[in-house]
């Protein structure tokens, strides 16, 4: 008997079209479509691709919950033993969709799911803890390498085989700690490592402590008078009522709020979603965290040209480094697209 696999791909790989077709709704087709052919070959006789789900990236991104539910229902009809999504390479929205689908499959159908992505795909940071993502190159040129690796991994999972380390199996490190029995007592391993360190020989720590990287500073703003300044905060400032439901800690999202015509953040309209500090003072006057009032004055005085008409807000407290990174990258993309010159970021 061979295992039944459902494959998930986007409109582009289904040959439907590019960005202009990115809003197509999910559909399911029997058998293989596009890269499914290669997947079929790599799986050999042990598993069969019984159906392929196709969904437009934009449609998925803007209707995540509903699209996931629809797709799960479609998949269920084919009684899959496992789901393979992508590979998405470095396509951000495609990667996010693959991640969301695989996570939902694992959680709701209780069967293994595998995808493939380039390590910098935002889908990796968002979903790597939930399931296995095979590391791929950044473009479809890597298809020939990616598909066999994904097939191999999904077969292992289906057969319930023990997986090796990320390096051995070719998946992206999920950041999950797993126990195993070593050949030596922990004390002996510690003394071995101690000797290696003393002698300046290479050793691998068993628990890497969190470390931080650096980015070189950007050049200064030369012409402030013509600059557009944007405000970003990790202090959780948001319109009253927290319409986007930004979490008080461990935020999973950031908010984008329009401040065209707003001269001052009053307590009637703004508050903080932050649970990481005593919110009384920020709730009384949100300018204490995000200085809109002063910046409007200076804009009027011509110190700089324009205060960008939106601000971005999230809660820094307890938020995973990976999420914060993702937020920063997405915010930066929007700001650059809108011609912002420089950013004032406030934290509590």
């Amino acid at each position: 008997m061979s295992y039944r696999i459902v494959h998930y791909i986007n409109q582009f790989y289904a040959g439907i079209g590019g960005e202009e077709k990115a809003d197509i709704r999910p559909e399911i087709r029997e058998g293989v479509v596009g890269p499914g052919m290669a997947l079929k070959g790599a799986l050999g006789s042990e598993a069969t691709v019984v159906a392929t789900v196709i969904c437009g990236d934009s449609y998925f991104a803007s209707n995540m919950e509903q699209a996931s539910a629809e797709i799960l229902e479609m998949m269920k009809q084919y009684k899959p033993d496992a789901v393979v999504a992508g590979p998405a390479f470095n396509a951000g929205r495609y990667g996010t969709a693959c991640g969301a689908i695989c996570e939902a499959v694992m959680k709701n159908l209780g069967i293994p799911a595998v995808s493939g992505m380039y390590p910098e795909n935002p889908g990796v940071e968002m979903y790597k803890k939930s399931f296995y993502i095979v590391e791929t190159p950044d473009s479809a040129v890597g298809m020939r390498k990616a598909i066999p690796a994904m097939a191999k991994l999904v077969l292992k999972l289906l057969k319930g085989e023990t997986l090796g380390t990320p390096a051995e199996e070719g998946y992206i490190e999920r950041g999950i700690r797993k126990n195993k029995f070593y050949d030596k007592l922990a004390a002996e391993r510690a003394v071995d490592m101690f000797v290696a360190k003393l002698q300046g020989k290479p050793f691998v720590t068993e628990y890497p402590m969190p470390v931080f990287d650096r980015v070189p500073p950007n050049p200064a703003v030369k012409d402030m008078k013509n600059a557009t300044i944007a405000l970003v905060t990790s202090g959780g400032i948001c319109p009253k009522g927290n319409p986007d439901h930004i979490e008080a800690s461990s935020a999973s999202k950031f908010g984008e709020y329009d401040i065209t015509d707003v001269k001052d953040l009053t307590c009637d309209d703004f508050c903080t979603a932050h649970g990481g500090y005593d919110a009384t003072y920020a709730d009384q006057d949100a300018d204490r965290v995000l200085p809109v009032d002063v910046l409007r004055d200076m804009e009027k005085e011509g110190v700089f040209k324009k205060l960008y008409n939106k601000f971005y807000s999230t809660v820094g407290n307890g938020t995973a480094v990976a999420s914060a990174k993702k937020f920063g990258a997405e915010i930066a993309r929007k700001l650059i697209a809108d011609g912002v010159t420089a950013v004032i970021l406030t934290s509590t």
Binding site: P166, F181, F194, L198, T205, Y207
Partner: protein, 439 residues
């Protein structure tokens, strides 16, 4: 296998461990050891433990490797040892006088252990399974256990009861070994704690010490050094051989997985492995004992003081072992960066609390200097322990011990718990082969 370290004579502290190997327990008329069998006179052992008005009931039982037996809640495990020759007696300051130990000859009933059980603080004791999947995780499934079952007198303080249990375990261990004093010795190991002046190893070798962190958060989370509550000490120097004679005694009622039982102190595997590399890879000059107190003031004081001692001793490296989780992580990290910034290379030995799914942060604290770290595994991983034919102690405690939860104990006797509940499973003295890696 004898381990001998060459060196000067006068100032060295030489300890011979005379090992009598035990592979089976039996009841009998006279407590003695012969052909691998430890025979125990139950009445006599009970009479040794009698007379403590803090205990209403004392009983003893056996639990041997491979048997379908579960013991819970376990408080401590002690190896039977007895001083044949040399100053002082085993467990100085507890059972014997406070004379310095670590020299002469000490009899060891290798393979035997005294296990104490009794409810003290309901949620802080552990499980030992003698067979099945749980047995792989605890070192005490491989020892022939004389289980001392204790019940407290009504109205007695918890500390008084803890003291009574602790003393009962030590007394039973010393009694068993003393009665076997004439037994045929299977192996003799020699260890020498050398004075700094006589350090024999090539001067080109780095000098290293072992920074030995002991749990000391409060009366029921304590450890004793020559009978002194280590909460009250400043970090101090200790010869490794003193530990072998029971200079360090556990008084802990903390999480079972990483409380260092008296047994692992007596058999400290870090010390054993440091001795093995002494004179080859480094010069092992001994232990610095330090504590893990609750106040930040104490933490700062002890870490600075311990590192100062290390600097004064002129060490190039410190191997640091932790005990416990949470605030001891702060002590571990302070010890680490203070030593590293003083130019002393460190390696850390700890365990992890990364959550049942392994996705949480493993330690409560971190520093960039902690680049060499060995872990004894994630204490939160869940394990299913199938029912055993016999349970010594109180099986329903599985629902309240740390690592268990309401419903951990199923009707058929199956227990589903985190490794945290299994005694010694993530020993931070490194007495198991468990470890963790990132997937």
């Amino acid at each position: 296998m004898p381990i001998s370290l060459k060196g000067g004579k006068e100032r060295t502290m030489k300890l011979e461990l005379h090992r009598v190997k035990i592979s089976k327990l039996a009841w009998g008329d006279a407590t003695s050891a012969k052909d691998g069998v430890l025979t125990v006179n139950k009445e006599e052992l009970l009479s040794v433990l009698a007379g403590d008005e803090r205990l209403t009931k004392v009983d003893v039982d056996f639990a041997q490797p491979g048997e379908s037996v579960r013991i819970l809640p376990v408080k401590d495990v002690v190896e039977p040892r007895f001083k044949l020759e040399g100053a002082g007696g085993v467990f100085p300051g507890m059972l014997s006088d406070v004379e310095t130990v670590g020299e002469g000859k000490t009899l060891v009933l290798s393979g035997a252990a005294v296990v104490t059980t009794g409810k003290i603080v309901r949620f802080q004791e552990g499980i030992i399974d003698m067979s099945g999947p749980g047995a792989e995780y605890t070192p005490y499934s491989a020892t022939c256990n004389v289980v001392v079952i204790l019940e407290n007198a009504k109205g007695i303080d918890k500390h008084e009861y803890e003291t009574a249990c602790r003393m009962a375990g030590l007394k039973a261990a010393a009694y068993l070994a003393e009665k076997c004093a004439g037994a045929k010795v299977d192996a003799v190991e020699t260890y020498e704690s050398l004075s700094l002046k006589d350090m024999p190893a090539p001067p080109t070798l780095p000098k290293v010490a072992y920074l030995y962190m002991l749990q000391s958060q409060g009366l029921l989370h304590d450890t004793y050094l020559y009978g002194v509550d280590v909460k009250k000490i400043l970090p101090t120097y200790l010869n490794p051989t003193e530990v072998m004679d029971g200079a360090i005694v556990s008084g802990n009622c903390v999480s079972a997985c990483d409380k260092n039982n008296t047994y692992v102190h007596q058999n400290n595997p870090v010390i054993a492995n440091m001795f093995k590399r002494h004179g080859v890879d480094f010069n092992f000059i001994g232990c610095i004992v330090t504590n893990e107190n609750v106040t930040l003031l104490d933490k700062r004081r002890s870490s600075s003081y311990a590192v100062k001692l290390a600097r004064t001793l002129g060490v190039d490296g410190l191997l640091i072992s932790e005990e416990g989780f949470g605030n001891p992580d702060a002590d571990l990290i302070m010890n680490c960066w203070k030593a590293e910034r003083a130019g002393i290379k460190t390696t850390l030995l700890t365990d992890e609390y990364a959550g049942q799914d392994g996705a949480s942060q493993s330690l409560a604290d971190s520093c960039v200097e902690g680049d060499a770290c060995v872990t004894a595994g994630n204490a939160n991983e869940v394990i299913v322990l199938p029912p055993m034919d016999k349970v010594i102690g109180e099986p329903e405690e599985a629902n309240v011990i740390a690592g268990g939860w309401q419903g951990s104990l199923a009707a058929d006797g199956t227990i589903t718990v985190e490794l945290q509940a299994i005694l010694g499973s993530t020993s931070e003295l490194g007495y198991t082969k468990l470890g963790a890696y990132t997937i």
